[in-house]
């Protein structure tokens, strides 16, 4: 069953995610896209992971390519994962935000596999990078995560300004797009157009320290994005300043998302990720 995990450093993560998905996520996710009846049928080129029972042999032989029959009542969605890889992910008091991001992706991936929804992924920092082709295969989920894990994070920062535009141009068919990142300093994010065409779900990965820093006193800090190094005095005053600033930024960002009709979920590094996701996905 776990053959796809051979020689993978992500094995514990994937096993846990798979276990969580197959034992806790039950029922279908609700979605904005509605199917329009059991009699409707569409033909689509075979992608890896599709059930071979659905291959229409007549059409396939005509076109010289494998084609599958799709019934809309199966509610097959195009799922797009877009992890926003910035250097600030490499932080976390007990668990790295980066690890939480990978866990989230694994859980979402397994949910797709379980519900026979094909998923695709692009990683984004300054430009959109296609990492996984459209698939339902668990092997590609592993590969996607390994690809992400390999990505060097230091000195990377996300260009939020171009994100929506790039996705809008690249993704043609209506999809459910998961934007997963920490969304720090994301005031340039403009999703209003993207949200019209696709269903966008924003998952904010955060550490509690970022929103409510503890007073550490004098501490030498290196900024992972700029590699700027300095000793600062993180006293009550400074902590309050950071807290206020972050709260203000977040309020602005979340208000914007809400206005665009975008669902969002904030996952902290000390959260139980699958519980949060499960609750989020089953309620609208």
């Amino acid at each position: 069953m776990y053959q796809y995990l051979k020689e993978s450093s992500l094995a514990p993560l994937l096993i846990q995610a798979q276990k969580n998905v197959f034992s806790f996520f039950s029922g279908d996710n609700t979605t904005l896209f509605k199917g329009s009846g059991s009699d409707f049928m569409e033909l689509r080129e075979y992608v890896t992971g599709d059930d071979i029972k659905h291959i229409d042999w007549i059409i396939s032989s005509k076109m010289d390519k494998p084609y599958v029959k799709i019934f809309h009542e199966e509610k097959e969605h195009n799922i797009l994962f877009v992890p926003l890889l910035s250097a600030s992910l490499n932080f976390g008091v007990k668990k790295l935000k980066f690890d939480t991001l990978k866990e989230t992706l694994a859980l979402l991936g397994f949910s797709c596999i379980k519900q026979q929804d094909p998923f695709e992924s692009y990683s984004y920092t300054q430009t959109l990078q296609h990492t996984t082709k459209r698939t339902k295969d668990v092997v590609y989920l592993r590969e996607m995560l390994e690809e992400i894990e390999k990505t060097p994070l230091l000195e990377k920062s996300v260009a939020y300004k171009n994100l929506a535009n790039a996705l809008f141009k690249r993704v043609q068919s209506p999809s459910i797009i998961f934007l997963i990142g920490d969304f720090l300093n994301a005031e340039n994010l403009n999703t209003s157009l993207l949200a019209v065409k696709h269903e966008v779900i924003v998952i904010l990965i955060r550490d509690r320290f970022e929103e409510e820093p503890s007073t550490l006193g004098e501490i030498n800090i290196t900024d992972p994005q700029t590699l700027e190094n300095a000793t600062v005095n993180l006293d009550k005053k400074a902590a309050l300043k950071i807290k206020t600033k972050q709260l203000k930024d977040d309020t602005k960002l979340l208000a914007k998302l809400q206005k665009d009709g975008i669902r969002y979920l904030k996952i902290y590094t000390d959260d139980v990720v699958y519980e949060k996701l499960f609750t989020f996905m089953s309620h609208r």
């Binding site: 250097a87 600030s88 490499n90 932080f91 920490d182 720090l184 300093n185 320290f209 970022e210 820093p213 503890s214 007073t215 550490l216 006193g217 004098e218 501490i219 030498n220 800090i221 290196t222 900024d223 992972p224 994005q225 700029t226 700027e228 190094n229 300095a230 000793t231 600062v232 005095n233 993180l234 400074a238 300043k241 950071i242 600033k245 972050q246």
Partner: protein
């Protein structure tokens, strides 16, 4: 005389070692990757400078106290028994003879001796002087004292025949020894002045010599005129001192001067160095700054 210096000044060179270490061996600072903070709060500079200054104050004051600054006072100790001198003077009848002073023949031997002895006492203002006179027996005229005026006064009041007309020379030595025996001074002198043979002593010379040797007393003897001075020479040589013969006042004063110069310099100025150690003050400053530094450090690391 007061002056200031260090006992171990070379220890101050350690400061350069510390400075060198500070420059060339920077401590490795632990740095944490924390996003989104440096953009919000300004890095520290002022406080570090203050810490730096405090650190060096601690270090330099500590080294200063290690180098042991001292404040030296040189004072002449009056209480130190520089020299204890007993003048043993003959007041027998023969001292009344005139003609000893070549300038004034009417002056008796005694008045010349008392003049010269007074001069001597005045010159030895830093020593303790005692007076013993002898005639039929010996008597202590004045105990050992720094009080010059009293000694001079006593000499003036002494007259010939005060304790009889004969010459108890050896007895006087014993009396003088009894004055000197409790003395703490390193140098004890008797200046014995006589013009005749011993005629009245009840103690034998051997016993007297033993006493002198026991208490390490030097006896300078001065014989006046053509008397039999074998005994005086014997006493002087046995007590490692000198014997003189004075024929006139000039001789006498020069003899006193010579004795004065012989015993002069070694003990005349007994100086004492009083050393005041001042290391406690920089050490106190160092400790106070150390407490301040620890307080600051604690405060800055407080969570």
């Amino acid at each position: 005389m007061q002056h200031f210096n260090f006992e171990y000044p070379y220890l101050l060179l350690f400061l350069f070692a510390f400075i060198a270490v500070d420059i060339f061996f920077k401590p490795k600072e632990h740095s944490f990757y924390i996003p989104n903070i440096l953009t919000h709060i300004a890095p520290l500079k002022q406080k570090n400078l203050l810490k730096y200054i405090i650190k060096y104050t601690i270090l330099s004051t500590f080294l200063l106290s290690l180098a042991s600054p001292i404040f030296t006072k040189e004072i002449v100790d009056k209480q130190n028994h520089a020299l204890d001198i007993v003048l043993s003077l003959d007041t027998s009848g023969s001292m009344s003879l005139n003609g000893f002073n070549e300038l004034d023949y009417n002056q008796s031997r005694w008045s010349v001796v008392s003049d010269v002895a007074s001069d001597f006492i005045k010159r030895r203002s830093k020593d303790r002087i005692g007076l013993v006179i002898f005639g039929d027996k010996s008597a202590i005229a004045s105990p050992l004292s720094y009080d010059i005026n009293t000694s001079l006064d006593t000499i003036n009041k002494i007259d010939i025949g005060l304790v009889g007309k004969s010459t108890a020379l050896i007895d006087s030595l014993v009396s003088a020894s009894s004055l000197l025996k409790n003395s703490l001074s390193s140098s004890k002198l008797i200046i014995l002045l006589s013009d005749g043979d011993d005629t009245a002593s009840k103690i034998s010379p051997e016993i007297a010599l033993k006493l002198l040797a026991k208490y390490h007393i030097k006896v300078y003897t001065i014989a006046i005129g053509e008397s039999n001075n074998n005994l005086l020479e014997l006493i002087a040589s046995k007590s490692h001192a000198k014997s003189y013969v004075a024929n006139n006042k000039k001789d006498l004063s020069s003899i006193y001067k010579e004795i004065s110069s012989l015993e002069a310099d070694t003990h005349m100025f007994s100086k004492k160095r009083v050393v005041e150690h001042l290391y406690t003050y920089p050490l106190l400053v160092s400790l106070l700054f150390l407490l301040l530094f620890l307080h600051m450090q604690r405060k800055s690391e407080k969570i």
